[in-house]
Subunit: 218 residues, 2 copies
DNA sequence: ATATTTTGTTAGATCATCCTAACATTATAG
DNA sequence: CTATAATGTTAGGATGATCTAACAAAATAT
């Protein structure tokens, strides 16, 4: 049995693990707001449960089992967020916090029902992939907006690591999932882009463009 | 701040407190499946928080503050059950267990939204009263079926302490909220009643009749 | 009215999760 | 290539919620 605390560690590990799948104790500690010694001892416990690979002074990695468990928590989180937004009419800014609690509910029937009512979506309201019942992510080949070229027209399909500030930023500019954007120009100096959409035009910083995932030729 | 464990004690105290509002340590211990010494020490803690009146060897009583907090948990539980049944299409038998977890979610917005989507019901799918945001129960003057007299016709409006076995029992006999029942006879020996409804007739034990809440003259 | 049973409390332990302070290792910068 | 900084671990302690064993009070039964 995986406790609520353990689930939070697994989820954080999953979210922090980049391409290499490695995470520092310091990073994890900051992400969770939990002091490093506590993290270390929890890593030992998770290692005993075969959920993480842990060796002193080495970076942390999830085992396959750990990845699956993390994915199942993420599934519950994302289904909840989507359900709250789409079926209950709550605001994007409110749902994350609620989902942080709901994601720990044991009943799979509850989440499977949400899944069904939502029509088995593979993408959540933030544009992130929703793992299936087995913890598998559907791989959807997105490109970062910042990797596109001037003149391309693309469809905004997902948003990375959305904080509520970021979501407000996007909302304020009427940037939402599904819109077509045309890249009018790129500033070589700082990588900011001028984007046209919906009869309007905005300059987006590199930081923003790295977080907007698009599909080309759509 | 009231912890999850504390909320469970308050809820159990509320549910066990009858007319007199008093509960034994033994009863509470059995209800929660927690050993008596643990209950005693929790009572001391809740007394410090002004949620219960506690004196050694005396029955336990909730304070007004304790009643309010308990009512708020019960509100969340009942709204959840109703939402799961009415809006998500889950079965009555499944929802109790899920609601036991959901009821501890902090966000009041979440439950207020359920309330709104359900049309601000004051009665839940089990026929129990749903407290409002301030922890107030709408007083609905029900009578127990067993307190009615032969010949009376009454409307079934609520069901007390519904276990899934009890709900199945009722379903099997097509006894559901809203039906009119006529009391055909009462057995003085054991208090069982013969009831007519929907062109059928059933004998209900005293135990069952104590759990069926009805409105007279309706 | 005393003995027995039931009920409730105290004392002391365990387990999970967290903490701080001190120490150890690894990485980095002169 | 050492000195310093950053990162990670160990040791020991706190808190919340639980337990068992032993004791105390209250209720009950003969």
């Amino acid at each position: 049995m995986i406790s609520l605390a353990e689930e939070n560690y697994l989820k954080a590990l999953f979210n922090l693990a980049g391409q290499r799948g490695e995470v520092n104790v310091t990073e994890l500690s900051k992400q969770l707001g939990i002091k490093m010694p506590t993290v270390t001892s929890m890593m030992k416990k998770l290692a005993e449960k075969k959920l993480v690979y842990y060796e002193s002074y080495k970076p942390l990695r999830l085992t396959e089992k750990g990845k699956k468990e993390a994915a199942l928590v993420i599934r519950k989180h994302r289904l909840t967020e989507m359900f709250l937004v789409e079926k209950m009419g709550l605001g994007w800014e409110d749902v994350h916090e609620i989902a942080e609690e709901v994601e720990h509910i044991r009943s799979t029937a509850f989440f499977d029902k949400m899944d069904e009512l939502l029509g088995f979506p593979r993408i959540d309201p933030h544009g992130s992939s929703i793992p299936d019942k087995n913890g598998k992510f559907a791989s959807i080949p997105y490109d970062k907006l910042c990797d596109c070229r001037v003149g391309e027209t693309v469809k905004l399909s997902a948003v990375i690591h959305s904080s509520s500030e970021f979501l407000k930023f996007l909302t304020n500019r009427a940037i939402r999932l599904g819109i077509r954007m045309k890249i009018r120009s790129v500033e070589p100096f700082d990588g900011s882009m001028v984007i046209g959409y919906d009869n309007r035009q905005e300059t987006l910083s590199r930081t923003v463009c790295e977080r907007l995932l698009v599909e080309k030729g759509k």
